[in-house]
């Protein structure tokens, strides 16, 4: 019984947006996220993961950021001697034709979390979910009020309305309420399940990405080199699971000077041709962080 020894595993939520649909890279026919052991040969966690994904899927990863590290005991019932530590990452790529064997399978992420897509209005599945959550809340007289409040908040039933950033909180609530298959022996469940806690990690990645697009120009990692403003908007909408106000969206993008015209024009828009834009690389460094929300005093 060695103290402090553990198995280290790397795992990735690799996202792309193709035809306005957000997708995640999976293995085992959509049942698991790509993962693999952290090996001695790896220089860093990041480079280890890069190699791994590259080898497993043939896809080069552009953007890669650490998500979270898990090691709950009840999570991994480890048959081997030590514990397993899972270090998860969020990667952003342009989905391409898989070279060679074409191993990576891309699945729309709303297949796993169907209640998260509000682009066509409130999804119908929410009615059933709310229904079950009510039953669950009422089942414990002691915690009834608290449970109702939590359900109302995370699923946007109170004043605040739907908050797209609460993806993880929603999944965790469903898990606790026994409404997802991963929670064990449940009769009712929503969305396609995944292996172990992979769906939870997917939810973590989505939540992180939804929050991040608001203050960092990461969407561009998912865009081709030239794009129209509507394409950009559709991509953001796909990620956020919401519809945006077109005129205000372009105002926002333009005033922040995130893009510049390429000079080209896209004519296959179905209407008036649109100007093509490219991301202004310079802002990555300069606008690294959004403006402060603190009431500063100038000296």
């Amino acid at each position: 019984m060695t103290i402090g020894l553990a198995h280290a595993e790397l795992m990735a939520v690799v996202a792309a947006v193709t035809s306005n649909e957000p997708r995640v890279m999976t293995v085992r026919s959509g049942e698991a996220l790509p993962s693999g052991p952290f090996e001695l040969g790896h220089r860093t966690l990041q480079s280890g993961l890069r190699e791994w994904i590259q080898e497993q899927t043939g896809h080069p990863i552009g953007y890669l950021e650490q998500l979270y590290t898990f090691a709950d005991r009840d999570r991994n019932n480890d048959i081997r001697g030590g514990r397993t530590i899972s270090i998860s990452y969020l990667g952003l790529v342009l989905e391409q034709d898989a070279p060679g064997a074409g191993r990576p399978a891309w699945h729309g992420w709303y297949e796993y979390l169907p209640w998260e897509d509000h682009r066509q209005g409130r999804p119908k599945v929410l009615d059933a979910i709310i229904e079950k959550l009510r039953v669950w809340a009422d089942a414990d007289p002691r915690r009834r009020a608290e449970r109702h409040q939590r359900a109302d908040f995370t699923f946007g039933l109170d004043h605040g309305g739907w908050n797209e950033d609460l993806t993880l909180q929603r999944y965790e609530l469903l898990y606790e309420a026994g409404l997802v298959a991963e929670a064990g022996d449940v009769s009712d469940n929503f969305g396609r399940p995944m292996f172990a806690d992979h769906r939870r990690i997917l939810a973590t990645g989505i939540a992180r990405l939804r929050a991040k697009i608001k203050y960092r120009p990461v969407v561009f990692e998912l865009m081709p080199s030239a794009f129209t403003l509507l394409q950009l908007q559709r991509t953001v909408e796909a990620l956020a699971g919401l519809c945006l106000h077109k005129q205000n969206f372009r105002r926002l993008i333009e005033q922040q000077e995130l893009v510049e015209e390429t000079g080209g024009i896209a004519s296959e828009t179905g209407g008036r041709p649109a100007k093509l834009f490219r991301f202004r690389q310079t802002v990555v460094e300069e606008r690294a962080l959004s403006g402060t929300k603190l009431p500063l005093v100038r000296n």
Copy 2:
């Protein structure tokens, strides 16, 4: 040579603000952050760390959030068989009198990163730093422009001015430029060094906290149960290393309904007595995330 086996280590940046000075909990007379192995007996990473800190310092930790996981090979020149994975956390506490042995030593965090405190205006040490950075930038003719631009940006010499959130980027730049003792054999160095990469982790924690206070009500974890608005402001200022506009600060706090009056009054203010406030616990759940920055469309 077992594949995927590693030593797991837990490490914490535990912060408190006492007499308007942000402090960090240290061991080894201020040279290291508290840390310890992740043991088989621990249920989760968090609970493992909680036990560990509690035992090592006698301090109970309220708020604890994961920071980052490191495992660079060149970072830990590991003498033992495997690699070491360091999982770091950020903790927030009210500094109290240490019970018993009083092991924890608190050190002001600007002792380690003196260029980060702009509350008394621009710190003088910055002049010397900029000077050395210029020399470093010029030393490589090929990367000169890029280095200058990076230095100007992270240290606020260009249009954008000082950005308090770039704490980690600044430390990393100084490290690369060989201006901190941890970078090896350097002649010039700034701030008090720490063991291994602990100062880098401290910078990571500060950066995270500075960013977080802007969109999540975490400051209250550092406040006593009742406080005046100025005390709250001074705490935020201590963390951000900046001075804030008093009237606008209270407007911000009040309009967000983060606090409510206790009814009490603090008379030892040195001037007109101030009303005491308490944090409104309800907002933790309800205002879990800030308002969206996306131009939504209502359906």
